[in-house]
Symmetry: C2
Subunit: 335 residues, 2 copies
């Protein structure tokens, strides 16, 4: 069951029974716009504040995923969720009405990988029949938390990424479905000393490379074992660095790598800089786009690697670096 | 293995192989001062900022606990840790040098319960031989994050609690020791609509009562099954509310309840208001004071219930409530 230094392979791999995605207006106008389950007309989602809007994303994603699985909230034994905001307020206020026992997580934009890992571990161990793993982000609440309020209308360098307004939720359990989580590799914090909060791709790429290469070593696999290796939100600059770093470790990812942050927007047309980012980027894109392909056997095996930059304004203003972390999840077609 | 609605009982209960505590000056001057492993002379712990000081607490606690267990950092397969600060910066910067795969957690001051729960689940399932579960808080970094910088010298109402400067770390594994985690009950968010950030005991007591009563129902136990039921940081006001709420559910906790926040300071002499609080309060007090009594069979069975108030300045300033969460961990003497 324990594989190599940082990985697990599940004897009884849990199934992804259902999933749901919800995104904002800009995401609906991107290349994947037609794939998401629900699209908001107004990024406030009927709420008074951006934070409540983000909570609404989690609320809706949970309800849709549980409904698609044919379950009720009472059937869900544990919730694994987190978000980017200080003290996880999008999660707390979004999910508290459901009254499901909660493990609150923080892994920056790697949270979807962390939540799927812990959820899968929990189901595979027999601790729960059904769990929900999920996360969210919102462009406006993130800008307010990490950079400038939108009203300030600041300019952004081209290396900056655009926080996705969205949420993705996954019901995991032992009941058979068309996809399952067969293994995980849990990441360490990797710090290359990047201090530029407007270049998160560079901050996260070393952590992505570290966990992907460790995963391939632990399982004794080559990159082409997978149909795709899909990172969360490295963007165009982070992708280039990842491919370079992995090559130094002897792995050629160039033909096989994809990034949710690159796929979700048309950067040139939509002015989104280096790509999409935020916990919701990989969470919504996996559910809407890649997971469907796995379920339909258009992709057989993918390595899903949400990537997080452990950025905080407090540490940033004190001159600290922006370390990265990433968690890898093996998702396979099940027939 | 699944017990009742929210609980697990472990078939092979993981052992608490070793633990360590470190606290600041004020905690060393309190009633438990002599019990902690390490006491700082200066609450900056040799660092330039309060946040780095808190990171140092985690760094030291990890190293001591792993050392006491006779292990090296390479032996630790997973780290479960979190703290109160936005984006868990005390954890990230404190623990990244150890290069151990990390599950970042956020449960406010319930984090020690969350970390011990997930760590125990992980070991009991055979996913790891050794894990470390830990957390920290620091008075000055918490005041800066949640209330006013210390330099402002604001006054505090008597209902306010005093954030403990401290950290506690626990090495869990299958190797026999004198104490083990035999079961857990995972809490839900409970919101009674409290909006007073200077009365956290009132915000947390409903969640504590909820998880304790659910635990007793799930395991079909009465409070006196335990030698003590020990909450994290309810303080004197929260304790009164907890006992009232549990009585309404038919459970009399009055003779059996203790609170780390009440024990750690001499409120009258030390001017700490309703008691100690913060993730580090229960984490350091369990390690230094209660766990030793379990190991020496002076206490045979305790229910340890770290309590968290999901407070954020952003949600608070937007007029939102302060919801609570608590997680219960059964710790028993092993011979």
């Amino acid at each position: 069951m324990q594989i190599g230094k940082q990985s697990l392979q599940f004897d009884e791999a849990p199934y992804i029974i259902a999933s749901a995605s919800i995104v904002g207006k800009k995401e609906s106008e991107g290349p994947l716009g037609n794939y998401f389950d629900v699209v908001g007309e107004d990024d406030k989602f009927g709420q008074d504040t951006w934070e409540e809007a983000e909570s609404t994303l989690q609320k809706e994603a949970f309800q849709m995923a549980v409904g698609k699985a044919g379950l009720k909230k009472e059937d869900i034994r544990y919730l694994f969720s987190g978000d980017l905001l200080g003290q996880n307020i999008a999660t707390s206020f979004g999910l508290m009405d459901y009254q499901v026992p909660l493990f609150g997580l923080y892994g920056a934009c790697s949270t979807c990988g962390e939540a799927l890992s812990l959820g899968a571990m929990c189901v595979a161990a027999g601790y729960a029949d059904y769990v929900v793993s999920m996360t969210s982000s919102h462009f406006a609440s993130a800008e307010k938390q990490f950079r400038f309020p939108l009203e300030y209308a600041n300019q952004r360098p081209k290396s900056a990424t655009w926080t996705v307004t969205g949420s993705g939720a996954y019901v995991l359990g032992k009941r058979k479905s068309k996809s399952r989580i067969t293994g995980i590799t849990t990441g360490k914090i990797v710090d290359y000393g990047i201090k530029d909060s407007m270049n998160m791709g560079a901050a996260m790429a070393p952590a992505a490379s570290d966990v992907i290469c460790q995963h391939l070593k632990d399982f004794d696999r080559q990159p082409d074992y997978y149909d795709k290796i899909i990172t969360g939100d490295l963007g165009t600059i982070g992708q280039e660095i990842l491919i370079d770093l992995a090559k130094q470790q002897g792995y050629d990812l160039s033909g096989i790598h994809a990034d949710c942050g690159i796929e979700i927007y048309d950067g040139k047309r939509q002015g989104t800089g280096a790509g999409g980012s935020g916990c919701g980027c990989s969470a919504a894109t996996l559910s809407a786009y890649y997971l469907k392909q796995v379920q339909e056997a258009r992709l057989h095996k993918i390595l899903f690697v949400p990537t997080g930059a452990l950025l905080s304004t407090v540490s940033f203003n004190e001159g600290m670096t922006v370390p990265g972390i990433a968690h890898a999840v093996v998702i396979e077609h099940a027939s």
